[in-house]
Every structure is written in structure tokens, then in C-alpha cells.
């Protein structure tokens, strides 16, 4: 039971890290307010199901749409505001969104919101069900991202990340792709928020504060931004760290901070990013094994 709860938590954060990676990793736009969209999805679903009786299966995509719509607005803002200014604008967005949740009675204000349990086809979702749901969402996202990476869209995003001016000069429609990237990232975050809300059955604005944004982004960066494996591994490492480090409870945040500093200082690409120490060695190892196999099979071919 305990293991399942942790697995669901890690899964939700893996989905969030994958989604923030679309914006920061693929297209290279700094965003430090991702928890706001996580929260928007959660609150949207809580209100849709709780106040308007919308079924869970409908509110799941709807909360994604709502988060994505507001994400599109931030994407439009990112066309005007760049780099460090954009980073601070996204921090600001996070603070303002949280303040709205916390102070407006419609959103439960400081009391938070109770979320009704989710039913699929009349059956209440159990913890195991949530685990299954979040894993299938992650698998869907990964499949989608794999497709995206190999598409023209993925190439264009890489171009914008590496050099915006150069990309624009060869005819990449920067504005379109930036907004789409923001919409994709925030939509997935909204869906993760919806799952989180129903699984927790209670949400309050604190859950989506700036600290959460940092956690999400750190997962993507520590794992290796711009890849698919990175955010998932990062979410597993940083998500499990508090549980594994439970025996030194008192020093948890100290170690967490140090982990961030050391990873960024010595492996700025992330632990499993392209050109990182681990990943280079892993790929080298695989190449060696493969060439050995080829050689062996070659020798066999020669003998026969």
C-alpha cells in the first residue's frame, strides 16, 4: 500500500517533469511556474466534478484543455518577454495564480477544496487504479514525445532552442512553435493536476506553490533535459529521495539542496543527458557489446 502511494506520487511528478521538459528542454524557454498549471488542472477538475457534476472521464481532458488555454496565454506572453525576463514572468505567474486560489472564495480560499472521488464506468478508482491510470498516461506521453522528437516539429523546436535567430532566418515560424510548445506542456501538466486532485481527494493552494515548480523543473534538469529518459529518471531519483532519506529526516532539505547544486555544477547536462558522464559510458558499453556480438557472429560466419 505504502509502495503504491509512493509510486503514484513519483508517477505524477514524472508526468509533470516530462511536460515541463517540452518547454524548457525541447524548445529552450525557461519556465519556473509550471506548478501553476498543475494547480489549474487540479482546481478545474475539482470544481467541474464537485460543483457541476461533470464525470471524471470528461473532466480529465477538460482540465487539460483549461490549463492548456491559460498556457497559451503564457506562450503568447513569451513572444514578447524573453530569457531571464520570461523566467521571472513565469515565477510571477505562479505567485499570482496561487494568490488567486488562496484568496478567492470560489476556489475554497485558504480552506482548500475537497474533491469528490473519481468513478470510471460507475466504478470508484482504487489506488491501484490510479497507479494504472498514471502509468498509462506516462506511456501515452512518452509515445507521443517519441513521435514528436522525430517530426518536423521536433526539429524546429531544437532549432529554436539552439539559436532562435538562425531558426527564424531559415523560415521556422518561431511564434507558432513556441505557443504550441507552451500549450502542449501546460495541457499535460493540467491532466496530471486532475489525476492528483482526485487521488488526493483534497487540494489547497500550498500544493502548487513555487517550490513545486522548482521540484518539477529540478527533476527534468537533474535527469537530463531535452531527453525522454531524463525527466523520468529525475522524477524517480528526486521523488524517492525523501523516502529513502527518511532515516536522516532532519537533513533532508540540506541534502536535497546539495544534490541540486552538485548535479548542476558537475553534470550540467543532467545525470542522463546527452554528453553526460553516465550516458556516454552506457552508450559506449552498449556499442562495445554490440560490436563484440557482431565480431563473434562474423567469426562464426567465417568458420562456416
Amino acid at each position: 500500500m505504502y509502495e503504491i502511494v509512493i509510486a503514484i506520487n513519483v508517477g505524477i511528478f514524472a508526468l509533470l517533469a516530462l511536460s515541463v521538459n517540452i518547454i524548457t528542454g525541447y524548445i529552450g524557454q525557461p519556465t519556473l511556474g509550471h506548478a501553476a498549471f498543475f494547480g489549474i488542472g487540479a482546481y478545474a477538475s475539482a470544481i467541474l466534478t464537485g460543483k457541476y457534476g461533470v464525470p471524471f472521464l470528461l473532466s480529465l481532458p477538460l482540465s487539460g484543455v483549461i490549463a492548456g488555454f491559460i498556457g497559451a496565454l503564457l506562450g503568447l506572453a513569451s513572444l514578447r518577454v524573453r530569457d531571464d525576463f520570461l523566467a521571472i514572468t513565469t515565477i510571477g505567474t505562479n505567485f499570482v495564480v496561487i494568490a488567486i486560489f488562496q484568496y478567492i472564495p470560489f476556489f475554497g480560499a485558504s480552506l482548500g477544496l475537497a474533491v469528490p472521488p473519481a468513478y470510471i464506468f460507475g466504478m470508484k478508482i482504487t489506488y491501484l487504479g490510479y497507479l494504472f491510470l498514471i502509468i498509462s498516461l506516462i506511456v501515452l506521453t512518452v509515445l507521443f514525445l517519441r513521435k514528436l522528437e522525430r517530426s518536423w516539429f521536433g526539429l524546429a523546436m531544437g532549432g529554436i532552442r539552439n539559436n532562435e535567430v538562425a531558426a527564424e532566418s531559415i523560415g521556422v515560424d518561431i511564434k507558432k512553435y513556441k505557443v504550441i510548445a507552451f500549450v502542449l506542456g501546460t495541457t499535460i501538466a493540467g491532466i496530471a493536476g486532475c489525476v492528483y486532485a482526485h487521488y488526493m481527494t483534497f487540494i489547497s493552494s500550498v500544493d502548487f506553490a513555487f517550490v513545486t515548480s522548482i521540484t518539477i523543473l529540478s527533476m527534468a534538469m537533474v535527469g537530463g533535459s531535452g531527453t525522454i529518459r531524463g525527466p523520468i529518471i529525475g522524477a524517480i531519483i528526486l521523488g524517492l529521495a525523501p523516502e529513502v532519506l527518511r532515516f536522516i529526516m532532519n537533513y533532508r532539505m540540506l541534502i536535497y539542496g546539495a544534490l541540486l547544486v552538485f548535479t548542476m555544477r558537475f553534470q550540467p547536462e543532467g545525470l542522463l543527458g546527452e554528453r553526460s558522464f553516465l550516458w556516454t559510458n552506457i552508450t559506449k558499453l552498449f556499442k562495445k557489446i554490440r560490436s563484440k556480438k557482431e565480431m563473434e557472429s562474423g567469426i562464426e560466419d567465417g568458420n562456416s
Partner: protein, 289 residues
């Protein structure tokens, strides 16, 4: 009443301006958003308190806090930020956030999680003003004076001295400055020393003003000063001071009169978001200084 609010706003703004000055100086040279500077703000306040308890001399403990944090700043830039120069800005930002988390927890473990009294026994040569509808506490005058003195020292260092000239050249273009034979490493170290000691000064002054400090006291300034330096045009010292005063005034006036429906600490970000959408370069565009 209005005068009272304006004076409150100026006092708040002057502390903001010292806090934001650290980040502004660092940004102007390295183009790094150094959130960990707010760690120096909190840690500096604690160093100041402990040396005050040990020595009983306020001026001395003020200086000890500033110098200790200045040296800390030199270490931070040498071992963390300089090696990351040229990497994506997000990497140094995450590093600084990690460092900030680390420092916050370090203070909690070192000095305990509870609020601590800052028993500053002020013997000011001047007393505050108190009339029927206007209060100016002696401490406020002290804060304003100290801020003014520190900012004047900074202005003098940057505009009149040789290292200030090197600072200005490096702020314009680090690579070219290096090519011109300026010892950039010294400039960067000097810059961090100034920035971190200013943050420490702000932390100690907040301690003296409110008479207490606590481990998470850096959290709100950490993000608010980002709003302030953006408003000031990122890396423009004069702009940062103006923006800090502006935010201080807006906060007290809006809080005092309109009774805004959102919390006071979010006002700075609302101002910034509105400003950025209208004028994305900040209010005070950085010209070549």
C-alpha cells in the same frame, strides 16, 4: 495619513533596494539570476546577531556580518558560478536555487527553527518624530541613513575608482574586457563581495528594525527582489533602487488605501507582469553605463 504611508513606503523600499542591489550587481556582470543572494541576506542576519551577542557592538557586528557574507560570496562565485559561465542560464539558476535551499536548511540546523530575538539596544544620537498623525521611528532614520551611506559608497566605487572602471567595462562586455587586459576574475570577485555584503546589510537591518529574525526570512525577498530587478531593467543599479522604492511605495499605498484582494507580497509580481507586457525591456533600459 498619506505622508505616513509614503514614509513607510520609502523605509520598506530602501531595505528592498539594498537586497535587490546584490542580485543586480551579480546580474550585471555574470548575467546570472542569483536567488542564493537571499541566502546571504538570512545568513548575514544570523552572523550579525551572533557577533552582536558576542561583542555587544552593533557597528562592529554589522561589519562582521557584511564581511563574512562578502567572503562567502567570493567562494560561491569561484566554485559555482564561474565554472558554469557560458552554460544555459537555467543551469546557474537551478544551482542558485539549490544553494538557497541548502542555506535555508543550514541556518535551521545551525541556529534552530524558531524565531530569534534581535535585541539591538540602540542608543541613537537622534530620536524619532512622533506627532498626532505622523510617526517616524528612530530606527527608520537609522535604516534610511545606512542605506544612503552604503549606496553612496557603491556609487563612488563604481564611478570614481579604477576598479569601478574595470567593473563598468566588464558589465558591458566580459569577453572584450578580458581582451583589453582587465583582470576579470578580480572584478567578478569584487562584485560578489559587494553584492553579498549588501544583502547581509539588508538582512541585519531588517533584524534591527523588527527585532527578530528566523531561518526562512529570506524566502519572500528571494522572489520579490527578482521582481524588483526586472522592473529596474535587469542589471541597472540605479534602476533597481528606483524600482525598489516604487515597489515599496505601491505596496504600502495599495495595502493602506485600496485594500487589494490579493496578498501584499503578490503585488510586486502583478506590477512586473503588467509592466513586462507593455514594455518588455523593463522601466529603466540598461544603456551602456
Amino acid at each position: 495619513m498619506l505622508l505616513q504611508q509614503i514614509i513607510n513606503g520609502i523605509v520598506v523600499g530602501s531595505v528592498y533596494s539594498l537586497t535587490a542591489m546584490g542580485v543586480t550587481l551579480i546580474y550585471s556582470i555574470l548575467r546570472v539570476l542569483d536567488i542564493a543572494c537571499a541566502g546571504a541576506y538570512a545568513l548575514g542576519a544570523y552572523v550579525g546577531l551572533f557577533s552582536y551577542v558576542a561583542t555587544g557592538n552593533l557597528v562592529l557586528s554589522f561589519l562582521i556580518g557584511m564581511i563574512a557574507m562578502g567572503i562567502w560570496g567570493i567562494l560561491v562565485q569561484k566554485f559555482l558560478y564561474l565554472p558554469l559561465l557560458g552554460k544555459a542560464p537555467l543551469i546557474s539558476l537551478i544551482t542558485s536555487i539549490g544553494l538557497f535551499i541548502f542555506l535555508g536548511d543550514f541556518i535551521r540546523l545551525w541556529a534552530g527553527p524558531l524565531i530569534r530575538d534581535f535585541p539591538a539596544d540602540l542608543k541613537l544620537p537622534f530620536s524619532g518624530i512622533k506627532t498626532e498623525n505622523l510617526t517616524i521611528m528612530g530606527v527608520w532614520i537609522l535604516v534610511l541613513l545606512t542605506t544612503a551611506i552604503l549606496l553612496l559608497i557603491l556609487w563612488y566605487l563604481i564611478t570614481k575608482t579604477k576598479i569601478g572602471l574595470a567593473w563598468r567595462a566588464t558589465a558591458q562586455d566580459l569577453e572584450t574586457a578580458k581582451a583589453m587586459g582587465i583582470n576579470v576574475n578580480v572584478v567578478v570577485a569584487f562584485n560578489f563581495f559587494l553584492g553579498y555584503s549588501f544583502a547581509a546589510a539588508a538582512g541585519i537591518m531588517i533584524g534591527i528594525m523588527y527585532n527578530y529574525i528566523f531561518p526562512t526570512m529570506g524566502d519572500v525577498p528571494a522572489y520579490k527582489m527578482l521582481a524588483i530587478i526586472v522592473l529596474g531593467g535587469l542589471g541597472n543599479p540605479l534602476g533597481a533602487v528606483t524600482a525598489a522604492m516604487l515597489i515599496g511605495l505601491i505596496e504600502t499605498l495599495v495595502g493602506g488605501y485600496i485594500g487589494f484582494f490579493l496578498p501584499r507580497d503578490s503585488i510586486a509580481f502583478i506590477v512586473v507582469i503588467i509592466m513586462l507586457l507593455i514594455k518588455p525591456q523593463g522601466l529603466f533600459v540598461r544603456k551602456n553605463i
